[in-house]
């Protein structure tokens, strides 16, 4: 199924916003983590430096380690390592859970600071006696010795560590923290992102959905105008200045298209007028000459009969071209009616008389009140009526019937012509008004008509402001109903 434009806009906006948010979240996360790690490294270095200045008895380091773990925020003692070595590199204290993969010999120990006179500040009793040491500690006179510090990072037993290394002339301290501490904080941040981003996306999607609806409003308005134009006629134009600037162009383009359409309609209509002229002149010549030859030929001669037959065909040709022209005009809404009072009752009675003459075997009945006069184009209306009656005869059954009825209300006259029929299939019913369609499918020309009759009759009736409809009857009969306004407004037929 094709998604609606509106839905696609909403989804696309959500997708774009999602990408942006995800990128932003990833960057933020990465920066925050970086800051946290740097912070940790700074803390480690500072603490290591501080530790390196302390002189503790062997058992004191363990307490110190526990205190450090609390200070640095380790969730359990295993997340922190402490190593204290003497100047010779022998471990004075090493955490019990020191991982096996961590080799302190490989640590990038910073260079030993020059003790200088400062070294004397340190109380030598706190330390194992440095071999070959020359200094004599004194108390109180010098500032404390600054250790050199460095940062190390290493992996051991699958865990990433950061270590602060501090070196003094008489000791080395490595204080390490597992990065799992940082990662735990980062996980909290990630979780808050995972909660916030989808929520934001949903809001953006909803917003775009609403905005798209607003954006589509002009299109909807335009659509409504276009529909109105199609129904109203090709000379209509949409008002461009009422639209937003973006849609003004579309409206102008549509108006241009209407113009072209109107032009080609005019050309088509012009063409049919020209074609009619071109056909009519040779037909007139043909007809006039044949007529003349018929009268010159010997009465009853063979050639006279032949010419008479040809004359019939010429008339048939004229009738077809005339009907096609009328249809073309009706299609282009160019049909002009010459309206005059028309005595419908008299015409129907004359038709009933004709029907009796034409089909003496059929039972013809009429129910026509006298004096129904309507305003119509007499020639065209007669054409409709003739067509209806001749169809009623043509598609009748042996010994069948035809009923011609008329009635009149305040506004409309209604003519119904019903006849017995050999049953019309549902398919034929629907296609009865199609051009060149004949229900018998044999195209036999026993009776005139190329199947334009009903289609043309309907167009002519509509041009009068009326209609021609097939009324659904029981199987064995057909009824056509012609409705006509008593006063035809020529406005609806003239463009």
């Amino acid at each position: 199924m094709r998604l609606s434009f509106r839905l696609r806009i909403a989804l696309l906006s959500a997708l774009l916003a999602g990408c942006a948010l995800a990128g932003f979240a990833a960057l933020t996360w990465w920066f925050v983590r970086d800051i946290r790690v740097q912070q940790l490294e700074a803390d480690l270095a500072e603490q290591a430096g501080r530790e390196s200045a302390r002189r503790l008895p062997p058992g004191g380091w363990q307490q110190s380690e526990a205190a450090l773990a609390r200070t640095l925020g380790a969730r359990n003692p295993a997340e922190m390592l402490l190593l204290v070595e003497d100047a010779a590199g022998a471990a004075v204290y090493r955490s019990a859970h020191w991982p096996t993969g961590a080799d302190d010999k490989q640590f990038p120990w910073p260079p030993t600071p020059n003790p200088g006179p400062l070294a004397r500040r340190i109380d030598p009793r706190m330390l194992p006696p440095p071999p070959g040491s020359l200094w004599v500690p004194r108390s109180g006179a010098e500032p404390p010795l600054e250790p050199t510090v460095a940062i190390a990072s290493f992996r051991a037993e699958g865990i990433a560590w950061r270590a602060g290394l501090a070196v003094t002339p008489y000791s080395r301290v490595a204080l390490a923290m597992s990065l799992a501490v940082v990662d735990a904080d980062m996980a909290a941040l990630r979780n808050s992102f995972l909660l916030a981003v989808p929520l934001a996306l949903a809001l953006i999607g909803l917003g775009s959905w609403l905005v798209a609806a607003r954006a589509l409003n002009p299109v909807r308005r335009l659509n409504a105008s276009i529909r109105a134009v199609t129904a109203a006629g090709l000379d209509q134009r949409l008002a461009a200045h009422e639209q937003d600037r973006e849609f003004e162009e579309l409206t102008l383009a549509f108006n241009e298209m209407l113009g072209r359409l109107q032009k080609s309609f005019r050309q088509a209509s012009r063409f049919s007028a020209d074609a009619a002229h071109e056909l009519k002149t040779p037909l007139a010549i043909l007809q006039g000459q044949i007529e003349r030859e018929i009268n010159c030929a010997d009465a009853g001669s063979r050639i006279q009969g032949v010419l008479s037959g040809i004359l019939d065909e010429v008339r048939r040709l004229s009738a077809i071209s005339r009907k096609l022209l009328l249809l073309a005009q009706a299609d282009a809404a160019q049909l002009r009616l010459q309206l005059a009072p028309f005595d419908l009752s008299a015409a129907l009675l004359a038709l009933a008389e004709d029907t009796r003459m034409l089909a003496p075997t059929l039972q013809v009945s009429e129910d026509v009140p006298p004096g129904i006069t309507i305003s119509a184009d007499g020639n065209l209306l007669l054409q409709i009526l003739h067509n209806l009656v001749s169809n009623a005869i043509k598609y009748n059954v042996d010994g069948g019937w035809i009923r011609i009825a008329a009635s009149c209300s305040l506004e409309r006259a209604t003519v119904t012509i019903a006849n017995a029929a050999a049953g019309i299939s549902a398919q034929d019913r629907e296609r009865l008004f199609e051009r060149f369609y004949r229900a018998d499918r044999t195209r036999e020309r026993r009776i005139d008509g190329v199947g334009l009759g009903l289609s043309l009759s309907r167009e002519l009736a509509r041009a009068h402001g009326g209609n021609l409809e097939l009324e659904v009857q029981e199987d064995r009969s057909v009824q056509l109903r012609l409705t006509l306004p008593l006063i035809s407004l020529s406005a609806n037929s003239q463009t």
Partner: protein
């Protein structure tokens, strides 16, 4: 009766002029509008047959010019273009009648007669050929002084035949004149109608020869009385 035919199509002009002359009209012909207008404005015609599509000056303009100059000569327009449009415009400009191409010369003659009759004040309300008399106003037909009771169609048919005795009229021509140009041309309504007229006439004077003669394979003609000067 003098008629001016203004028609540029030579072949149409030929058979129109020939047909009119056969019926005793005096015919003059112009092949373009300018010339046609000059002839017509000189006057002296009983009727003018005017094509609309003409070289030089078109028919409607000629008609307009004539009416402006105060010429009231009856005009029949011949139209081939969009006949309905031209018809409206032509009638508005003062044409007396119109014929859409293609047309029958017989029909043109009938219209010319009717026009002239109308203009000259219904001179010929009564047609009489042989023993058949037809009163156009009262719509009565008598045969050997007996009134014939005819329906509307039957009256129109016999009137049409009586107008040109001795001339063969095809079924199509009759159909078109009496029933209208779009009546189903392959019906036998003409034959049926003729049969009924014949039967009605025969019932009044059984021994007399029927005035309507069949021309096999073609149509019918009104029997010309032998000694009729017409």
């Amino acid at each position: 009766m003098k008629v001016l035919v203004v028609e540029d199509e030579a072949k149409i002009a030929d058979f129109v002029c020939a047909g009119l002359r056969e019926q005793g009209f005096t015919v003059e012909h112009c092949a373009n509008g300018t010339e046609g207008f000059e002839h017509a404005s000189r006057g002296g015609y009983d009727a003018i047959v005017l094509d609309i599509m003409l070289p030089g000056r078109d028919g409607l303009s000629v008609l307009k010019g004539l009416r402006k100059a105060g010429m009231a000569t009856p005009v029949i327009l011949l139209t081939a273009r969009n006949e309905l449009d031209d018809r409206i415009e032509g009638l508005a400009l003062g044409a007396d009648d119109y014929l859409a191409k293609p047309f029958f010369v017989e029909e043109l003659i009938a219209r010319l007669h009717a026009l002239v009759r109308r203009v000259s004040g219904e001179r010929q309300n009564v047609l009489a050929v042989g023993r058949l008399r037809l009163d156009r106003i009262a719509r009565e037909v008598t045969w050997f002084e007996h009134a014939v009771d005819l329906t509307g169609r039957e009256f129109n048919l016999i009137e049409y035949l009586m107008r040109s005795p001795g001339r063969v009229l095809t079924r199509t021509q009759i159909l078109e004149h009496v029933w209208g140009y779009d009546f189903d041309p392959s019906t036998n309504v003409v034959d049926v109608c003729i049969q009924r007229i014949r039967k009605k006439i025969a019932s009044l004077a059984a021994d007399a020869e029927s005035p309507i003669e069949s021309v096999r394979g073609v149509g019918y003609r009104f029997r010309k009385p032998d000694a009729s000067p017409e």
